[in-house]
């Protein structure tokens, strides 16, 4: 499928998702607002922490807020546009891929985009609100923030596809995928300066949380072309690895012959 056709297809799926969500408008808005408040409440931890300790290895409350916002925006973007990435392991394990495989569209892209998590929009809004809260609201900073969050989202999606695809081999990687998601969020929202040695290495490789949090956040206040290049490369590699592993796993896929109705 050409890029243009792929883009048109994605836009059509996202439009259908939005129209479907609008059928339950109140529930949609409640989830968006609920997630915004949820993020704000979770940030309460850092407020309490910095009230007691003031700084940790040079990081202050505003720095962590910007980091937290970048991760929220990236995560929100990923889950709103490619919501099934959070449950890809289940989709594979429970034979739900049958539906996507039977249609003349790329199965992975279709499976990922066919579900939209409304609360992702709440995360995205919270991310941009933090940008205003830390006083970094010039057009240039906002553009770098958006670019960083988008590339972080690409790293996140690619990596979760890798983990979710393990269902092809181990039967059901749902809990593993959940654990990895939690791990990515947790490591990416903590001040990067507290990690050193092998942990730092881990966050740039096996669990690439640095490319979802610290590196994208650094683009806003201390932009370098090198950081942008590294982040872009990480996003490309992550997506390529996810796609390759999923395609390889498809050869092992066993349909559950589950009866599914889609209205």
């Amino acid at each position: 499928m050409s890029w243009a056709r792929g883009a048109r297809f994605l836009l059509a799926v996202w439009r259908a998702n939005l129209l479907s969500a609008m059928e339950y408008r109140v529930s949609f808005l409640a989830q968006v607002a609920g997630m915004f408040l949820n993020d704000a409440a979770l940030f309460g931890f850092w407020t309490i922490y910095f009230q007691r300790f003031h700084e940790v290895r040079g990081w202050r409350l505003a720095d962590v807020l910007l980091l937290f916002g970048t991760v929220a925006a990236g995560f929100g973007c990923a889950t709103y546009l490619f919501g099934n990435v959070l449950r890809l392991a289940t989709v594979i394990a429970e034979g739900e891929l049958d539906y996507y495989l039977s249609l003349p569209r790329p199965a992975l892209l279709h499976a990922l985009a066919s579900r939209s998590v409304p609360s992702g929009l709440g995360d995205l809004l919270f991310g941009f609100a933090t940008l205003a809260a830390v006083g970094a609201a010039t057009p240039g900073e906002a553009a770098r923030f958006a670019l960083g969050a988008a590339l972080g989202a690409a790293v996140f999606v690619g990596f979760l596809v890798v983990v979710g695809s393990l269902s092809f081999w181990i039967g059901d990687a749902t809990l593993l995928s959940g654990a990895v998601t939690q791990g990515m969020i947790m490591f990416s929202t903590y001040p990067f300066a507290v990690f050193d040695g092998w942990t730092r290495l881990l966050l740039f490789s096996l669990l690439p949380a640095a490319f979802v949090g610290a590196v994208p956040a650094s683009l806003v206040r201390s932009f370098t072309w090198q950081s942008l290049g590294e982040l872009g490369l990480a996003a490309a590699l992550s997506l390529a690895a996810g796609t390759a592993l999923f395609q390889r796993g498809l050869a092992r896929y066993q349909s559950g012959s589950a009866m599914q109705a889609r209205v």
Partner: protein, 267 residues
């Protein structure tokens, strides 16, 4: 195994079935173990950096105490029963009608089923989290605290079950309970003391937070693990016991009210 009280047999059987079901995918269950190890690594890094700047002891707790405290709190958090989501789903898809028609007490069935679900998780997260904390900062601060955990983990689990089930039963009144689950989880994380011990809170907030059920479910077992004989231990236990009674009664009332409101369509 002979069960002394005959009516309990079916609930033991339910627990056993759920226990077996939860062991079907051992590699996947290991995901939780990975989770808690990752959490301990994050906590260790943050608090080691914190203590480098703040000195050997903060609010009477050293680095070893904090890491063990957070590991225990995380065990409670990761092994809590997810009754809310299951109940809400069964109300939404109508399968609750079948559950209610079966010859068992609805709430006891869920208590038994969730016990079976979560028992392996408790053991697994406790073993993995304990091993990670031990490797990170050495042996637990006191062995008396370790012994007390045998009582405190079930109490914490029961409190979480009561709160989660109450949220699930709200599905009888509201369409979607997801937002309530989020709020409950965040309250557990922040004012329950999962992410930061309440000992580090400002005085007024700490006093208020320790009186809430969220703290009884996480702060109390974790704090008593590192300071079993400390000042205020008895008060924490009393508050925890009181919440079990209050929430247990509230849950029963909520269930009765939900049954009165329930309308099952079709056959």
């Amino acid at each position: 195994m002979a069960v002394p009280w005959a009516p309990a047999r079916k609930y033991v059987a339910v627990s056993r079935i759920q226990l077996r079901a939860s062991l079907v995918y051992p590699l996947d269950a290991a995901g939780r173990a990975i989770s808690i190890v990752l959490f301990v690594v994050v906590f260790l890094n943050l608090w080691r950096a914190t203590y480098q700047g703040a000195g050997r002891s903060v609010a009477g707790l050293g680095l070893r105490d904090v890491v063990w405290y957070l590991a225990v709190a995380e065990v409670v958090m990761l092994s809590q029963p997810r009754t809310a989501a299951l109940l809400a789903q069964s109300v939404k898809d109508g399968s609750i009608a079948y559950q209610l028609a079966r010859p068992y007490r609805f709430l006891l069935f869920h208590l038994a089923a969730r016990l079976g679900d979560t028992l392996p998780l408790v053991m697994l997260t406790l073993a993995a989290g304990g091993a990670a904390a031990w490797l990170a900062v050495g042996a637990p601060p006191t062995w008396w605290g370790v012994a007390l955990l045998a009582v405190e983990l079930p109490m914490a689990w029961l409190l979480n079950f009561l709160m989660s089930t109450a949220i699930g039963l709200l599905a009888f009144s509201v369409e979607d309970t997801t937002a309530f689950e989020w709020i409950y989880n965040k309250l557990m994380l922040v004012v329950g003391g999962v992410l930061i011990p309440l000992d580090f809170f400002p005085g007024w907030l700490r006093g208020a937070a320790t009186l809430l059920p969220f703290a009884s479910a996480t702060y109390t077992p974790a704090h008593l693990f590192v300071r079993p004989g400390g000042q205020g231990a008895l008060e924490l236990l009393a508050v925890q016991a009181a919440w079990i009674v209050v929430l247990g009664s509230a849950l029963w009332a909520l269930y009765r009210r939900g049954m009165r409101r329930l309308v099952v369509n079709g056959g």
